[in-house]
């Protein structure tokens, strides 16, 4: 009896050990699982390469995966990092965690959204927008800059996310890179003086506007898309001075165990038709390829004014901006 069990176990172990023949690529992705999973399924279908994904969640705000990549730097497990923003990717580049890969499929993407050395490439972006409640604000508000709604007469009915997380942190780091530490501190203090509501995430801001608790607020295009799909009376408006565009970014990890498969996945993600697919999905990502025409309701890059952003300067400011925001938020909460 016992010998049968041992034989069965040995057979199972042998089969298990022999089962590793399939090509695979390990991808860590901060892009929403519901949006990224179908894309990875399509990649598997087309290439036969199995995409083993590790997903981040909104609750851990991208940094969970970035910390994991940094922690695994001595023995990388991941081949490709697909980030839903750019600053944390630049952080990885600076830490030497990435390796270059210049994809031919990135040819149609503007130079501002890719690293000349190929350490990262941007695609399928979100825009920072101002969401407003159409029941409370039937007329489309005229907004020159993002800061307009943070000043009277809008301020007391406006909200932003805590500038520590997600794209608001990136937006805030941009402000820091432009205003410097003292100017940024004054900017933060003006939020308090003007009575702006500071919530914990873009999603919460959008939710508060959707429910009518706030008239308007800073958020991203994908949050507005979700609220509209759920039937809430919300719309978005862009500042006339230009919008901030935050792209998805993809990079290959230095020492990636499956390099050929990693290149295949990056090339796949940077294809124009994949951008079109992402634009058609619930996240309504904005295509960066020049030739892609997005479905109705999705912003067209060619039709809008995009603010020129020096992402390296933003990355330079990120740590200082985060510390400033953390201390400000702490002081505010203790008042």
């Amino acid at each position: 009896m016992t010998s049968r069990w041992i034989t069965a176990a040995a057979l199972a172990a042998t089969l298990w050990a022999c089962g590793g023949g399939q090509r695979e690529v390990v991808v860590y992705t901060a892009h929403d699982q519901r949006l990224s999973e179908p894309i990875l399924d399509l990649f598997e279908e087309e290439t036969g390469i199995q995409a083993l994904a590790v997903y981040d969640t909104e609750a851990t705000k991208t940094t969970g995966l970035v910390n994991r990549l940094l922690a695994e730097a001595d023995r990388p497990q991941c081949d490709v990092f697909w980030n839903n923003e750019i600053v944390q990717t630049l952080r990885l580049v600076r830490e030497g965690v990435t390796q270059p890969h210049l994809s031919q499929n990135a040819a149609g993407i503007p130079a501002a959204f890719q690293d000349p050395e190929g350490h990262w490439t941007g695609f399928a972006a979100r825009a920072r927008v101002i969401v407003y409640n159409t029941a409370l604000q039937p007329e489309r508000p005229k907004i020159a800059t993002y800061d307009d709604i943070l000043r009277p007469p809008w301020a007391r009915e406006s909200g932003i996310a805590l500038p520590l997380f997600g794209t608001t942190a990136t937006h805030f780091a941009l402000i820091h890179s432009q205003l410097g530490p003292e100017g940024t501190q004054r900017w933060l203090d003006s939020l308090t003086e003007n009575g702006v509501q500071v919530l914990d995430s873009n999603g919460q801001v959008c939710d508060a506007v959707a429910r009518g608790a706030l008239r308007m607020g800073w958020t991203d295009t994908d949050d507005v898309a979700v609220a509209q799909a759920e039937g809430y009376p919300v719309a978005q408006v862009l500042p006339s001075s230009g919008m901030i565009l935050i792209p998805n970014t993809v990079c290959m990890i230095d020492g990636a165990p499956h390099r050929a498969e990693a290149r295949a996945l990056i090339d796949f993600l940077l294809r124009a038709d994949i951008e079109h697919l992402m634009a058609s999905g619930p996240g309504r990502q904005i295509p960066l390829h020049a030739g892609v025409s997005p479905p109705r309701g999705v912003l067209r890059l060619q039709d809008e004014t995009v603010l020129e952003v020096d992402w390296n300067a933003v990355a330079d400011s990120f740590d200082a901006a985060s510390e400033l925001a953390a201390r400000w938020a702490e002081a505010e909460s203790l008042q």
């Binding site: 519901r34 922690a71 695994e72 979700v226 702490e330």
Partner: protein, 518 residues
């Protein structure tokens, strides 16, 4: 030895915690420098105070709800009803803290309660956070108190009823005898409450220690140093809870000398069904917000499809939880049994395990990944995926260690001495293990459910291609929190968790059956 052990154990824990509190800053700096971190971040006293308030509310709510349900369950004689109430009491723990908070937040917002409470000022926010945490963590108190109840000596309860009214028995007998277990549960509730960021994040309470640490983590400041600074305030809360309990033991000291035997515990004579029904209704009402998630399930076929579509996630969740629970039970159980008769010397190892438990999951996981993910043998082991069991189980081993240590300390020494002539295996299997079974089930249930509900460490420890259910649920929550899909994912987690709880019964039943066949 049996007589004074719980008293010395808890008093010793309290004193050591107090000592740790006094030297906390020194420990913090030492830890930070050992881990090559910079000086710890500032932790203003108000943060400590707010965290302590939340922990106090959470402990109060958890103890009140958990003990009530545990005593209900203990008074019911019918085994199936008792099992039903036990599971109902464990229900809040089945749903992850983040999801529990999300559901409570949505319901309170819809009812207009949250805004009204929030408008009362920051203190009301603290109370709300403590209340929400306490409701979920009541399962800790419920299960651990139940484990304590089943270790009580029936004859002393009967004798108590002969010499005094029920109130006397409850006050002077049941209370003191159950107090070590309740205090232990309260300690765990306090630690989890202080280190949790999910509920403060959702309810926008930022002036607490855990949030400061969270921000430091995301701002890339110095989370490890911040945790060092956090050790002291966490221990403050623990010490406060631990130190209020010794007077209770002293009052019950004569009763603690009771010898145990396996006689059946007296149950309530009448109204069992009412008790059972009341218990279930109380739990359901208290967790109405969670039920809110499930009422959106309109199609059973869609639910079945959700199960089919998520078999990979279920498998990843179950293997992670089973592996971590096995590590925690084995290591914690071995520690408890090794320390069994060592009196005050049991305190330092348990205290060290408790301090490990105060480290938030995401920091624990980051440190573990950094250490294991290295060239050579460590890295080879890391790639097998077994490290996540060691890491998650290692953090939680304090739970089985302390529960089993308490239960073991209450065993009759006479019985163990009488079995001295037996071999090691027969002594363990025939004498030591049987009275520990319920406590072991409770410890296993707590560890397994905590691993299933874990989110922060899961992000750092999940194997590629093997996402756990909680990660899947949270990602759906972000996109569409009110969709039936979210409700169905929550139902899948619930079913998986209940299956995990039933696993020991299935295994032991199968083992008996196998032996019968042989």
């Amino acid at each position: 030895m049996t007589r004074g052990l719980p008293l010395r154990l808890v008093s010793g824990l309290g004193l050591l915690l107090l000592a740790a509190l006094l030297v906390g800053p020194v420990i913090s700096v030492a830890l930070a420098s050992l881990m090559r971190a910079e000086a710890p971040l500032s932790m203003p006293p108000a943060l400590w105070l707010h965290s302590a308030v939340i922990a106090a509310v959470a402990v109060t709510v958890a103890v009140a709800v958990g003990m009530t349900i545990a005593l209900w369950a203990a008074h019911v004689r019918t085994p199936s009803l008792r099992a039903l109430i036990t599971l109902a009491g464990a229900f809040p723990l089945v749903i992850p803290m983040y999801v529990h908070g999300m559901a409570m937040w949505q319901v309170s917002v819809r009812l207009g309660l949250y805004r009204e409470l929030a408008d009362e000022g920051p203190w009301s926010d603290l109370l709300v956070v403590g209340f929400v945490q306490g409701l979920r963590l009541s399962a800790f108190v419920h299960l651990i108190t139940l484990a304590g109840w089943h270790s009580l000596h029936a004859r002393w309860l009967e004798a108590g009823l002969l010499v005094g009214p029920r109130g006397f028995v409850r006050r002077r007998l049941l209370g003191p005898l159950l107090a070590p277990f309740v205090a232990l549960a309260a300690l765990l509730v306090a630690v989890i409450s202080v280190t949790d960021v999910s509920i403060p994040l959702l309810f926008q309470v930022r002036s607490v220690i855990a949030m400061r640490l969270w921000w430091a983590h995301y701002a890339g400041l110095d989370p490890i140093g911040a945790w060092g600074a956090m050790v002291a305030p966490s221990l403050l809360v623990l010490a406060a809870v631990a130190l209020i309990t010794p007077p209770l033991w002293r009052r019950a000291a004569p009763l603690l000398s009771a010898r145990r035997d396996p006689a059946e515990i007296p149950r309530g004579e009448g109204g069992q069904w009412l008790f059972a029904l009341g218990g279930v209704i109380a739990v359901v009402l208290a967790n109405g917000a969670l039920i809110h998630l499930f009422v959106q399930i309109t199609s059973l076929s869609l639910l079945a499809e959700t199960f089919r579509a998520n078999t990979g996630l279920i498998s990843a969740t179950v293997t992670t939880a089973l592996g971590a629970a096995a590590v925690a039970m084995f290591a914690g159980g071995a520690l408890a049994l090794f320390l069994g008769d060592r009196g005050w010397r049991t305190v330092p190892p348990l205290l060290i395990a408790l301090v490990f438990f105060t480290v938030p999951g995401f920091l624990w996981a980051v440190a573990a990944v950094s250490w294991w993910s290295a060239p050579g043998l460590r890295g080879d082991l890391y790639e097998t995926g077994t490290v996540r069991w060691l890491v998650l189980g290692g953090r939680l081993l304090v739970i089985p260690a302390v529960i089993l240590a308490l239960a073991h300390a209450r065993q009759s020494r006479t019985q163990r001495e009488a079995a001295l002539g037996l071999g090691w295996w027969h002594r363990w299997w025939g004498v030591v293990w049987p009275p520990l079974r319920r406590a072991a089930w409770v410890a296993y249930a707590l560890v397994a459910l905590m691993v299933i509900g874990d989110l922060d460490a899961a992000i750092l420890m999940d194997l590629p291609g093997h996402t756990t259910l909680v990660v899947g649920l949270c990602n759906r929550l972000h996109i569409s929190p009110r969709s039936p899909e979210v409700a169905m994912m929550a139902a899948v987690i619930l079913a998986t968790s209940l299956a995990m709880l039933a696993l020991p019964a299935i295994v032991s039943g199968g083992w008996r059956r196998w032996r019968e066949i042989r």
